[in-house]
Amino acid sequence: MADLKTPAQATAPAQATTTYRESVAEGIAREMRRDSTVVCLGEDIGAAEGVFKTTVGLFKEFGPERIWDTPISEQAIIGAAMGAAMTGLRPVAEIMFSDFLACCWDYLANEIPKVRYMTGGQVTVPLVIRTANGGGLGFGAQHSQAVENWALTIPGLKVVAPSTPSDVVGLMASAIRSDDPVVFFEHKGLFASKGPAAPPDHVIPLGQAAVIRPGTDVTLVALASTVPVALSAAQALAGEGISVEVVDLRCLVPLDMATVLASVARTSKLAIVEENPYQGGWGGTVASIVADEGFETLDAPVRRLAAACVPLPFADRLEDEVIPSVRTVTDAVRKLSAY
């Protein structure tokens, strides 16, 4: 991955392997150690160590003064985090499933992202809202949505969605250190995935996409869960002689269009892989910028591989139909390459 290709790391000994899930807790713990104003709150995050085990070890290490179990009160969780962020703390608030952001959407849409602006810069809101996002696990319509596109509709929120364990740590560092509010989407389908552990002091700036596989024929833009899908498709297509460049956006805001536009300038063809439904999906924003600013570099239609415009069904056979798969992406890119 681009961010790991620094000389220091290239010569480092083989890195330990870890999970995406463990990296969440690791990323938070690193920041809690360096900054005593970082505190966590959420449902079942303390002694229970998180419903997804993404806060394992935190309660033990930092105790009840810094890790707070809350009632089932999403508005109070996020509203309190906001008030605390305005008054000297750096809260990291967990919303258990990203679908539940809808229960406190006022804070994400109307309060947190606007208060700095509407006070003429008088206050800052340095907080992180972490949440388990996405489908593929058979949790049904109300526990499976990929909703980073909801956050994209709101100016004033930074939006992060890592795809690998070390990106989780590196982006968590930037998110917690950011003086701006960040919504941090942890993908449920990636929790068990493994990868190199983050090196010490690993920090990835917000808003830097990674070209994780170079290629010449088609640019494939992906995010979070669709990154491994895109990589598998690229791998499969390589066998057919089609060279696919895969860009992991990592963040929706700041949105690294420079990297995307540069890639499309090289490949002249673009496909975007999104987990959210096509209607209102984040790929629309990316596609429209390329169809405008990159128009002259395009040699083929811009393709969006997004979820079908239906709620997520429970049965896994049905869910598989709805969410873009390696097969649908491979087919679409193959056609695009032949265009």
Partner: protein, 328 residues
């Protein structure tokens, strides 16, 4: 309706026994990999569902939570259709599109299981409003957990229902825990539902949720108030879940003696004791147990034999026309 008869209780016992068996089967099927996603089993809560349903008319409305298998079955959904839903079969109660958390049986006016905590309390108020406007003398019932009492929708629903004097009964299944956290540690009052009733000038009762007749009688009273135009009632039924919160949660956060005490008050045991006290012979109970076991075994067999859900179903039922088209 409220008088206890031998037949009544045996029948309620059988319903509870079928639910218990189905929940155990669901757990086994989950562990065997035949149920995907997650389940929130209601074993231990049977008396609430069965007792309440016994007090309702078939045309009354019921809204439940992700822990709602017992409500679906108590209202009349077939165990086979419930298990088929959990197992992603075409014959599932919701065509395998809902899953464990969303069991719904509209034909029984069981209008859904909702997985966003507290979200269905306003819906129940709305169904009651509809009944009132239509002059149907139907009532609506919302079942919810202790944890749901700290979410905003609870407050808004109770106030609206109180102000509009709606025919609705709010039944809290207080099983002492949210997921893994005791409700007492995050709630400002001892009885999270009942102690909030005065904030809406509503009557409330805290009852033994493991005694099916106690539940039935409380709901009979509340339903009568509702039908008489006297507005909502809050019932807080104390109960306990026998399994963990969901999936394979071993529920280690619960003290052993607490678990033991509550298992000794298993609603099936409580009912059996009542039956025995009423002079019902053990072999009649055994007969019922056997019949319940057979019902469950048949349901498991039927669900297993049912075809997998058809992938084409992913693209139906978004709109009332049956389709999913959002653009031309």
């Amino acid at each position: 309706m409220a008088t206890t008869t031998e037949v009544d209780l045996l029948d309620l016992y059988e319903q509870m026994s079928v639910i218990r068996g189905t929940e155990k089967a669901a757990q086994d099927l989950f562990l065997a990999g035949l149920v995907k996603g997650t389940t929130h089993l209601a074993a231990g809560h049977e008396a609430v569902a069965v007792g309440a349903s016994a007090a309702l008319r078939p045309d009354d409305y019921v809204f439940a939570t992700y822990r709602g298998h017992h409500h679906a079955m108590a209202r009349g959904a077939a165990p086979a259709a419930c298990l088929a839903e959990l197992m992603s079969r075409a014959t599932g109660l919701c065509k395998a599109k809902g899953g464990s958390m969303h069991l719904t049986s509209a034909e029984h006016n069981m209008l859904g299981s909702y997985a966003i905590v507290g979200s269905h309390l306003p819906m129940a108020a709305g169904a009651a409003w509809s009944a009132k406007l239509r002059g149907s003398s139907q009532i609506a019932v919302a079942f919810f957990g202790d944890g749901a009492t700290n979410i905003g929708a609870f407050h808004e629903a109770l106030n609206l229902a109180a102000v509009w004097r709606l025919p609705v009964v709010f039944i809290c299944e207080n099983n002492l825990y949210m997921e893994y956290t005791p409700i007492g540690s995050v709630t400002a009052v001892e009885h999270p539902a009942a102690d909030r009733a005065p904030a809406y000038q509503l009557p409330a009762e805290v009852i033994d949720g493991n005694d099916v007749l106690v539940v039935r009688d409380a709901v009979v009273r509340a339903a009568q108030r509702a039908r008489d135009g006297e507005g909502p009632t809050i019932i807080e039924a104390m109960t306990y879940r026998h399994f963990g919160h969901s999936r394979t949660d071993p529920a280690k956060y619960r003290p052993a003696d607490e678990v033991e005490q509550w298992l000794a008050r298993d609603p099936l045991l409580v009912a059996k004791q009542r039956l025995a006290a009423d002079g019902i012979a053990a072999d009649r109970i055994a007969e019922v147990d056997a019949r319940a076991a057979k019902t469950v075994a048949d349901a498991v067999a039927a669900a297993k034999a049912a075809p997998e859900a058809d992938p084409a179903e992913a693209f139906t039922d978004v709109w009332a026309d049956g389709g999913a088209q959002w653009r031309t």
